[in-house]
């Protein structure tokens, strides 16, 4: 993400500075832990106002742009930080902000100030119309898997009758944590007769939720392009310093070409995701946004997966250790590329919504 205005630069610098907190030791300590991030960091982010970036001023937010948010998320990706910025402060928060239900405004306040941490539970997030949680007579029933962050104060549960807010400690609500590749967790939640009175309604339909998913895809892609940039940097550094056969391995032309290919992948991911993020700040129809989101996230997936694998290869055995920080990025790559749609699913989505193939006449 390249800052284009002073405001972007300020945000990007602040986020980068904040990233100094994210030492590899802290990142490792968060793994296999509940919660899978630092709540104190979350509160600190809230105090900086960052959680309200995507919320209108009328609702108590900063009314900033997606491009502003992108600056933060990019820095987050570079640092491989575990706090669920995209999952909570984009996916769940935007679902909430785009809602029309009575629970919306007071929850927005609590989310912005960091006191309430939200996760969106929309079953099979690649195909949210395929939702299995049901709403009838004021109660919710069903299960939902791959809910991120697993540890939240409340969950926005998507159903065909709209979106409802449910507290983590509600009666009838339970969850099982499943460990993800990066040591964070996804929740597999079960709702059995969980009460959802009208005041807990966040949205009366799924439109906002679907839009939020596409927005989150694009911001997730930005985070991934930040990770790509860092992995490339680590790899180039290693190629310059690691010596074998009496010279830096970066002097072998075979490896120079590989490094260039990684650079191409990184540049492509950066520009594609940045363009998509900027487009989110312009009027877009639903299909255009969806196509953009699928394309950006698919590109981030392919670029990042390529870079992660090659970065390890070019580091040799060192790249395969847990002690070296590259591994944190590789495991986050595995995690994020399967979240919100893997490449195959996104390409299929794109094909399903794009114009039919036109045969150009000669």
């Amino acid at each position: 993400m390249i800052p284009r205005t002073d405001q972007h630069r300020l945000l990007a610098d602040a986020a980068r500075e904040f990233s100094a907190e994210h030492t590899p030791a802290r990142l490792r300590a968060c793994r296999l832990r509940d919660p899978e991030f630092d709540r104190t960091i979350w509160t600190a982010i809230a105090q900086l106002g960052w959680l309200g970036l995507l919320v209108d001023e009328a609702d108590g937010g900063l009314g900033a742009t997606f491009e502003d948010m992108g600056q933060l998320v990019y820095a987050w990706g570079r640092a491989c930080a575990p706090e669920p910025l995209v999952a909570s402060a984009v996916l769940a928060l935007r679902t909430l902000a785009l809602g029309d239900g009575p629970a919306r405004s007071h929850l927005l306040q609590q989310c912005i100030d960091g006191s309430h941490l939200l996760a969106l539970a929309a079953d099979s997030i690649t195909d949210p119309t395929n939702i299995s949680v049901t709403y009838a007579q004021g109660v919710l029933n069903g299960t939902c898997r791959f809910v991120v962050p697993a540890h939240a104060d409340g969950y926005l549960v998507a159903t065909h009758a709209g979106v409802f807010h449910v507290l983590a400690n509600s009666s009838g609500f339970s969850l099982q944590r499943e460990t993800r590749a990066d040591g964070s967790a996804a929740a597999w939640i079960t709702l059995s007769n969980v009460a959802a009175p009208p005041v807990q309604r966040v949205a009366s339909n799924l439109n906002g939720c679907l839009q939020a998913i596409d927005e989150a895809r694009i911001l997730c892609a930005i985070e991934m392009s930040g990770m790509a940039a860092r992995m490339l940097e680590l790899t180039l550094e290693y190629l310059r310093t690691r010596e074998q056969f009496g010279q830096a391995i970066g002097r072998f032309q075979a490896l120079q070409h590989r490094a260039v290919d990684l650079y191409l992948a990184e540049q492509l991911a950066r520009d594609v995701t940045q363009a998509a993020c900027i487009a989110l700040d312009t009027p877009l129809d639903t299909t255009a946004r969806h196509l953009l989101a699928c394309r950006a996230k698919a590109r981030a997936n392919t670029s990042l997966n390529r870079i992660a694998r090659e970065a390890v290869q070019l580091h040799g055995a060192m790249g395969f250790t847990d002690e070296y920080q590259l591994g944190l990025y590789v495991n986050r790559t595995l995690t994020l590329s399967a979240w919100l749609g893997n490449t195959t699913d996104l390409q299929a989505e794109y094909a399903a919504h794009a114009n039919d193939i036109e045969v150009l006449s000669a």
Partner: protein, 385 residues
């Protein structure tokens, strides 16, 4: 029951051989050890391999004269296929795969008598002491030193990335025995008992969260001089021959077949095995693996004839590991959102370790001589560029 001495496996027709192997694996292999996500430790699968040993099945590729099954290439392929099909975990098999063949080629009769029976009985578990912190691809720059004092070597130095050294009783070590000689010329191949005083092993955690590789430190470790294999200062030739055996092993279709087995199971559980896009991808991969078997068979034939493996064996290592990686990637793509989950993942009414194959495949293009080094070998020694 030692069947190997009484049975001529190669006389059986292929289907009968397959049926025999299969029924034995299915009947005897512990179910909870099938398709495990990580390399099993010796306390977990030692019993199974001692059982294989007792049956005379522990060394399928060794000549019968030395206690192996002496399988023909076709039979050996069937043996591997059945192992993978049943999800049988590998053990720390460097003794069988590398030390045995090296001793058969370079050892003295006394050494063969001394070491081979312990390898066959699984009493001795071997680790590979080649790599050092500054000698990876450039292996010949290794610095671990073996000084001769009377009838002993005194070894001092450090090895790294040693797979499963924590379970091994012995290690074959490349050490410098002549500091004056140029690189390759002053290296010897020495067999070391890891219980000797002065040996220290420190596990290194890997990306998958497992402790499979290690650092091994040698501080004035005393080793009898008759543990030298091949002539003094001529260890490089032994080491290279051993790498050939390692490459034909890594280059076997076993690993891709193992991934293909998991992919098939996953597709069944997810119900996408009839999806045309999936079927096209699956079968493209399957064809690649079947093709690989054909090229693999050519090299097995060479081993069988007892001839040295030519540099071309690098072809196998590249093809097998890169096919394995593509198969592991296809597992992740096929799993959808579940691919973000670590360990055994509930899918439909089964359990699949989705990331397991990925973590196994990723370093396969690094160890055994990285694929870049294999390509260098082929470019230089085979294509003469």
């Amino acid at each position: 029951m030692n069947t190997s001495s009484t049975q001529d496996w190669n006389a059986l027709d292929d289907d009968a051989f397959r049926a025999l192997i299969r029924s034995r694996f299915e009947a005897d292999y512990p179910t909870h050890l099938r398709y495990t996500s990580r390399r099993l430790r010796w306390h977990e699968n030692g019993e199974w391999y001692r059982h294989m040993s007792a049956m005379g099945w522990i060394a399928p590729a060794w000549p019968v004269a030395h206690g192996g099954m002496g399988l023909s290439p076709t039979k050996l392929l069937i043996f591997h296929e059945e192992q993978e099909r049943w999800g049988i975990g590998r053990f720390q098999d460097h003794g069988i795969l590398m030390v045995g063949p090296v001793l058969i080629r370079f050892g003295t009769d006394a050494q063969r008598e001394r070491w081979l029976p312990h390898i066959l009985s699984c009493e001795h578990i071997w680790a590979q002491g080649y790599s050092e912190p500054n000698a990876g691809s450039d292996l010949a720059s290794l610095r671990t030193e073996a000084r001769i004092e009377g009838d002993e070597f005194v070894i001092t130095g450090q090895k790294i990335w040693t797979t499963l050294a924590q379970d091994a009783t012995h290690m074959f070590v490349l050490a410098r025995t002549d500091k004056q000689a140029k690189k390759q010329a002053g290296i010897s191949f020495i067999l070391v008992d890891l219980t000797s005083p002065g040996v220290r092993v420190r596990p290194i955690r890997d990306l998958a969260g497992h402790e499979e590789f290690n650092e091994v430190f040698f501080d004035h470790v005393r080793v009898p001089i008759d543990h030298l294999v091949g002539p003094l200062n001529a260890g490089w030739d032994v080491a290279k021959a051993l790498l050939g055996f390692e490459r034909i092993h890594i280059g076997s279709p076993k690993l891709p077949q193992y991934a293909l087995g998991i992919l098939a199971k996953l597709a069944q559980l997810r119900g996408c095995h009839t999806d045309p896009v999936f079927k096209a991808r699956f079968n493209a991969l399957r064809m690649d693996i079947e093709d690989h078997c054909d090229i693999y068979a050519r090299f097995v034939e060479i081993v069988k004839r007892g001839e040295p493996l030519p540099d071309e064996v690098s072809v196998l290592k590249i093809l097998a590991t890169e096919t394995f990686q593509r198969a592991a990637d296809l597992i992740l793509e096929t799993a959808g959102p579940a691919a973000q989950l670590h360990g055994s993942v509930p899918i439909g009414d089964g359990l699949v370790d989705l990331l397991g194959p990925f973590y196994k495949a990723m370093p396969a293009s690094i160890y055994g001589g990285s694929n870049e080094i294999q390509r260098n070998i082929l470019a230089k020694n085979v294509l003469h560029l």
